[in-house]
Symmetry: C2
Amino acid sequence: MDDETFQHASLDELRADRSRGASELARRSLELLATFARECRAADSRQLAAKLDEFAAALAATRPSMAPLQTLTRRWRSELTSTRSRALADAREHAATRAQALVTRSVRAVEEAAVRASALVGEGDTLITHSLSSTVLALFRHLARRGIRVIVTESRPLREGTSLARRLSELGIRVDYITDAQVGAFIARANLAMVGADSVLGDGAVVNKAGTYLLALAAQDQGLPFYVCCESFKVTSSLATEITLEEKDPTELGAPQLPHVTVHNVYFDITPARLVRAWITEEGLTATPPRAA
Amino acid sequence: MDDETFQHASLDELRADRSRGASELARRSLELLATFARECRAADSRQLAAKLDEFAAALAATRPSMAPLQTLTRRWRSELTSTRSRALADAREHAATRAQALVTRSVRAVEEAAVRASALVGEGDTLITHSLSSTVLALFRHLARRGIRVIVTESRPLREGTSLARRLSELGIRVDYITDAQVGAFIARANLAMVGADSVLGDGAVVNKAGTYLLALAAQDQGLPFYVCCESFKVTSSLATEITLEEKDPTELGAPQLPHVTVHNVYFDITPARLVRAWITEEGLTATPPRAA
């Protein structure tokens, strides 16, 4: 595969992905960058550095609502300042190794955040969540033997709630599966609400799958704590006014095409920090918004 | 068709109906009662009265979350106290005529409530609603020439939002069609939220399609007024603790069947009165809960 074909295929893969969350896609980007660093054509390390920089920026731009994609590729680029001064083979290896080290760090961060979050959950508690977060799934793995119940929302349009229900079922965790619209009818059965995040903004607001803001409002109205659990790579200094909420293909809704009717498929919403009881990252739990790394 | 067959078919029809709202089903019940009053077997007016009473009670019990079914059949029964003292043919005609008069009254009440609600909507306003209410649809007919926009929710599981979008499209009204989960992402684009009701409880709480409570919370959080518009036959003296929220066939969700996973299909939720800016019935707009007739 020539460089251009590889790059296009990579960008298309990231843009089209609807099943992996922000952390997983960020790590996938780093893996693609590692492969590209090892295999792309480059006359010297100077040209390599330029190509890697450009490709990293393009990968980050595919999913503007997903902070870790921005944070991890930026971090990686900042670690490559010495690329130009290395011999080509060494520069390739260094870039690939740094990318893989960041993947490992992200995986560990998710796991540690999940362990910290597990301290908030008691024996027999009922949790409610929304969408499918790999971090929250890691948490549920830790809780499998605590006799918990989980209220899982369908999460339209693509219903990743069905995947979450399947994984929890495999873990032997009892699940109450509901439509997104039933959150208000079921919230009072839960002890706490726990979600992941695509991004945590500079003021602590949480960008996550559309429907998260409604869950947070329902939790507040019923006096339930609403927690956000994610790796710190998801924390950005951007504010709501500076970010783009991704709008995806409206045909995913399966709605009829009608005159005067515009079908919308905004993937994310923003939950204001005032609705968040605490943010949990690998660095710990904070009742005030975490700072961008 | 013998009496028993007719009664069973009627009860099944009401239980199974997922497309008509509470007012329409209440009126349908009255029409079935009128037919039954004219055609059922009865030796005398005393036996007729007993059969009508029993059938009316059975019809009302099919949809416990729908107040007008209770209110209108109760009202009708109370108007039939003279049945026993009439000649059989006269008693039949009286019962049928009273049922039809209540149908007409309910239709007019819905229309008048819609006219009163229309006073709240300005030229070019954007309204957000949830589910398909025949009263709110009547309101939209009045607003068709005011250049309004309507944000329509899908309303899972059976997506009656698609029917509403189709009807609004036919009226030439611009529609933004969203999933139930996108309410939080779109609420700020609306000027006001307007819903119908299956019941208004004694304390003003609103029983309506699951998802209504979330819409009301989002409206409150964004400072939007949340209005409920319905005929006064929907107002009951019952409280939330006294009513049953209907749970329907979980297969309507199309969720996978998995061990440890319980799929729920609770059709209604309860929006507390504190989230309602005003209640609008054919009798007018009130900022305090309307009283049961």
